[in-house]
């Protein structure tokens, strides 16, 4: 489950960490929409590459590499599914274009993981909650959101324990064909989900017994303020969005195969 390592907040001091979460949120939203907008290899490759310097600036390359490695298995599954379905059910002419499209879909998944991983690695759940609150979102919703985020590492750890417990009962996660591999995860997912539901019910009860929501007017110790670099990030994000919309509407994106063969 090392994929989740890429979503755990790392308390490092870097310029990315110090940025306003709202600015980073705009960036993530833009990157998300842009990533979904394209299904060609070249723009996705560009999106992947422009984010690498951000990872380095945030000094989280180790965690990022780990999350990339962790998501490798899912990436392979996505690649295989796309390859098979496109090969048999679509009108693409050459195997080369099918291959390129499958690679693009896999890269899309990787870019999404990368984007969210940068955001969550550099933004503490507390800051996130604060940002939501200051955006006038009702406190109940903010709280639900930050709690969900905060419990990701707890769930990751629990998933590891559950995996250990099932391995101790002879479950082999590796090996076997594709279907068997998916079936292997049932004994891990069911306890994980059941425990998560149980925990959420318990949490609700313990919070209500501590008078949660008794006071309507909450105040905060810290107040977020946008600085120049935050505004800059938002502007760059919007620029990326504008360019992407323009490109997707008016530019014929060449495929790598075309470039190579012409």
């Amino acid at each position: 489950m090392s994929m989740f390592d890429g979503f755990k907040f790392r308390s490092v001091s870097s310029s990315i960490h110090q940025m306003d979460p709202r600015a980073k949120f705009v960036y993530v939203c833009v990157l998300f929409s842009v990533t979904v907008m394209f299904n060609n290899l070249i723009p996705l490759l560009i999106l992947f590459l422009i984010q690498v310097p951000l990872v380095l600036m945030a000094k989280v390359q180790k965690e990022w590499v780990r999350s990339m490695k962790g998501s490798a298995m899912f990436a392979v599954i996505i690649f295989a599914m796309n390859l098979l379905s496109l090969y048999f059910y679509s009108g693409y002419e050459t195997f080369g274009s099918v291959l390129e499209r499958s690679l693009a879909m896999t890269l899309r998944f990787i870019v999404l993981i990368q984007t969210f991983s940068i955001f969550f690695l550099t933004t503490s759940p507390d800051m996130l909650g604060l940002a939501l609150e200051q955006s006038r979102i009702p406190y109940e919703l903010c709280f639900a959101f930050t709690t969900a985020v905060r419990f990701v590492p707890v769930l990751a750890e629990e998933a590891q324990t559950i995996m250990d417990a099932q391995k101790a009962r002879g479950l082999e996660l590796e090996g076997g064909n594709f279907l068997k591999r998916i079936r292997n995860y049932i004994p891990i997912l069911i306890p994980l989900i059941v425990n998560a539901i149980r925990r959420s019910l318990e949490l609700a009860e313990t919070m209500e017994s501590r008078a949660w929501g008794a006071n309507k007017n909450r105040t905060n110790l810290y107040v977020l303020k946008m600085e120049r670099k935050d505004v800059l990030l938002i502007l760059i994000s919007l620029l990326i969005l504008a360019v992407s919309i323009y490109v997707s509407m008016y530019v014929q994106i060449p495929s790598i195969i075309q470039i190579l063969t012409s």
Partner: protein, 271 residues
């Protein structure tokens, strides 16, 4: 036989959980691993079935190094019951839950049926055969988890915190049950904080502190050594506390068991 030679273990986060662990547990021994929270007890037992591999040193089970075989292979010999049953229960019925491991190990239908019946009987779960494990109480779920491991009859049985959440009667049954397993020649290892439970079972004790084993010895010897148990943040058993207070009156100090205490007192008062 379980042998650990100079075992060190660090988690990927950098936490050093085991340092310089050397131990030998013979077949048929009954061992309790005790120590403060975070002393490395669970980490230690996870090395026995190969879930964790040492960063330095060697762990040998019957002469085979754990790094050379898969967990599934070691699990046939080493049954590890986790602390929280909710980390493993997933089937629709108790019966299926117990047969899970047996299927993994590739037993045939007939054997599976026999072993499931045997385990259900053993842990008094027959009436829950067709019940969903999620409908059971905490104590019952714990017994299902135990049954699901004992079903394949491993020769080494490790129980992580078996007494947590058990009422007095269940605890006593568990104690009888553990002693019975041990009498049948199984190696039994329990990880626990429950000093009274250990005092009544009288196993060999391994005391841990900050990833190291600081003492190995008989229950009587270790659990009456106040200095030693304090270091591992374990309390003296109640009986040991009483006899410590009575030391000045010429009572022996190495009494930890209720029945023995009663005998000693009776002899004194009667004689």
């Amino acid at each position: 036989m379980i042998v650990m030679e100079d075992v060190y273990f660090s988690y990927p986060s950098g936490v050093e959980a085991l340092r310089e662990v050397n131990l030998k547990i013979e077949d048929g021994e009954f061992v309790a691993i005790m120590g403060q929270n975070g002393a490395g007890k669970t980490t230690l037992v996870k090395h026995i079935n190969g879930l964790l591999k040492p960063t330095k040193g060697r762990v040998l089970i019957d002469g085979v190094e754990t790094t050379k075989v898969s967990v599934a292979k070691l699990a046939r010999k080493v049954g590890l019951v986790f602390q929280n049953p909710d980390h493993q229960l997933f089937s629709e019925t108790v019966e299926e839950e117990i047969s899970f491991a047996l299927k993994n190990f590739g037993y045939d239908e007939k054997t599976i049926r026999e072993r499931v019946d045997w385990a259900l009987n053993l842990l008094d779960l027959k009436e829950y055969r067709k019940v969903s494990p999620f409908m059971l109480s905490g104590g019952e779920r714990k017994r299902v988890a135990l049954a699901s491991v004992l079903a394949w009859n491993p020769k080494i049985v490790i129980l992580d915190e078996p007494t947590i959440g058990q009422d007095h009667r269940q605890k006593e049954r568990l104690r009888q049950f553990i002693l019975q397993l041990n009498r049948q020649g199984k190696t039994v290892i329990i990880v626990t904080h429950d000093v009274e439970f250990v005092a009544e079972c009288d196993p060999k004790i391994m005391l841990m502190r900050q990833g190291r084993i600081i003492a190995i010895g008989g229950a009587k010897e270790i659990l009456t050594n106040e200095n030693l148990v304090n270091q591992a943040s374990v309390a003296l058993p109640e009986i040991a506390k009483i006899f410590k207070g009575l030391e000045d009156f010429g009572f022996p100090r190495n009494v930890i068991d209720v029945y023995e205490a009663a005998d000693v007192l009776y002899e004194r008062l009667g004689g």
